[in-house]
């Protein structure tokens, strides 16, 4: 009972803090839309090409937008001692990671449910594909959040090499990109098997992430 109260207290606090810092989320959403714009400028408004690559662009930009939220995972709470506080209140590191995963998914991935259809309309994608893409997004975005958590927890004490956190998330996201784009662009028979594989990848990462992130946070704490 006490643990549940502590967990709910943390959720409530994260909710309050993120709401008062909503600019961060807005900036990332604008980054996404600007990215689409840049693609349009760099490729030219050629409708045929965009028919072919639009889903790929959306998923690439989702990945890059998640890059921006890596540092928000643990760095602040690590630096001001809140992670230690949570630990001393009786929560294990894995629980702390799970709480962070849920809050980061709700605040930094869920808003895309509104933005992706807008972007899809700009890129002139069919309605069925938009709906399918949203469904795939609901499965793929927790994977993105898990990857961001792993990368964020590895880089808590990294003050020199800033790009490496982005590189880590990018290389681990290759299967996600291949299958997410594959599902939406596929012929109907191929949708179900790829969907199953994607769900499998989701469960794999949901299993690895609490262990990996908690281990990295623990190691980082012992080395502050």
């Amino acid at each position: 009972m006490q643990t549940i109260n502590s967990i709910l207290a943390i959720f409530y606090r994260e909710y309050k803090i993120t709401f008062r810092n909503f600019n961060d989320i807005f900036t990332i959403l604008v980054f996404f839309l600007l990215g689409i714009l840049i693609f349009v400028f760099s490729i030219g408004p050629n409708k045929e090409i965009f028919n072919y690559i639009s889903i790929g662009i959306i998923w690439t930009l989702l990945l890059l937008s998640t890059n921006l939220s890596i540092n928000k995972f643990y760095k602040n709470d690590f630096k001001d001692g809140n992670i230690i506080l949570f630990y001393m209140s009786g929560l294990s590191f894995e629980v702390i990671v799970l709480i962070k995963l849920i809050t980061m998914w709700v605040f930094f991935q869920l808003p895309f449910v509104i933005i992706i259809p807008i972007a899809s309309l700009i890129l002139d994608i069919d309605t069925e594909k938009i709906l399918l893409n949203l469904y795939v997004f609901l499965i793929g975005s927790p994977i993105l959040t898990s990857l961001a958590s792993i990368s964020g927890s590895m880089n808590l004490l990294n003050n020199r090499n800033f790009a490496i956190s982005s590189i880590i998330i990018m290389i681990l996201s290759i299967p996600l990109i291949i299958f997410s784009v594959g599902i939406v662009s596929a012929t109907p028979e191929l949708i179900e098997p790829q969907l199953n594989i994607l769900i499998g990848i989701l469960f794999l990462f949901l299993a690895i992430t609490p262990w990996a992130s908690a281990a990295c946070i623990k190691i980082s704490l012992r080395n502050i």
């Binding site: 006490q2 109260n5 502590s6 709910l8 207290a9 943390i10 409530y12 606090r13 309050k16 803090i17 008062r20 810092n21 630096k79 001001d80 001692g81 809140n82 230690i84 506080l85 949570f86 630990y87 001393m88 209140s89 009786g90 704490l221 012992r222 502050i224």
Partner: protein, 205 residues
């Protein structure tokens, strides 16, 4: 009752201190003293089980802390020189969060009276407080968590004279109520039942 046995710590193969033994029981205070950089903060972190010592064991109520973390954390509060209050939340919201996080039984009226004594405005955002006020807010956690063992690293930094007096009174009250305090500081406060450990005696140079 906290017992420390044969504690030593090394960072990057450089020994910081060794052969440290001491214990603190109810109604006692331990003051860890020493010059800057001698390892006072490190020792507090080891006692709080955040850093792992090179050798040595820490026992809480007879049991090894490593195997009994839950029990140890249930009975100890750690306050360091960093502030865990969030600047976007008000003083009140921060304290309510701590109350819920630690399932504390402190009443809202008690909280309000604490704010009055510390002269903190409960509705001002923590980001707008001065350094000393943030420190006082952080020290509220001691009262909110209501734990027996208090571990503090440099609790007096940034506090004005009246606040220092308040803190010392709080410490003395805690001791009267069977509490224990271990704190590190560069100043020499006047407290009852206090033993001082000079880390220079255990350092390696």
């Amino acid at each position: 009752m906290l017992l420390v046995n044969n504690l030593s710590f090394a960072r990057n193969d450089k020994e910081i201190f060794k052969d440290l033994d001491f214990s603190v029981g109810p109604k006692r205070i331990i003051h860890i003293a020493g010059r800057n950089g001698i390892g006072k903060t490190t020792l507090i972190k080891i006692l709080a089980n955040i850093l792992i010592p090179k050798t040595g064991e820490i026992y809480w109520n007879g049991k090894n802390v490593k195997k009994n973390l839950r029990d140890f954390f249930k009975n100890s509060t750690l306050i360091m020189d960093i502030h865990t209050s969030k600047s976007e939340l008000t003083v009140f919201e921060n304290t309510i969060f701590w109350k819920r996080l630690f399932s504390s039984k402190i009443k809202q009226t008690e909280l309000e009276s604490i704010f009055k004594i510390l002269s903190l405005n409960k509705n001002s955002k923590a980001g707008f407080l001065s350094k000393g006020e943030i420190k006082k807010l952080e020290l509220c956690r001691l009262i909110i968590e209501q734990k027996k063992l208090w571990l503090l690293d440099e609790p007096y930094v940034g506090l004005d004279e009246s606040s220092i007096k308040l803190i010392n009174e709080t410490f003395n009250n805690h001791i009267e109520n069977e509490g224990m305090i271990i704190f590190s500081s560069n100043s020499q406060p006047q407290l009852k039942n206090m033993d001082t450990i000079h880390l220079e005696n255990y350092a390696n140079n």
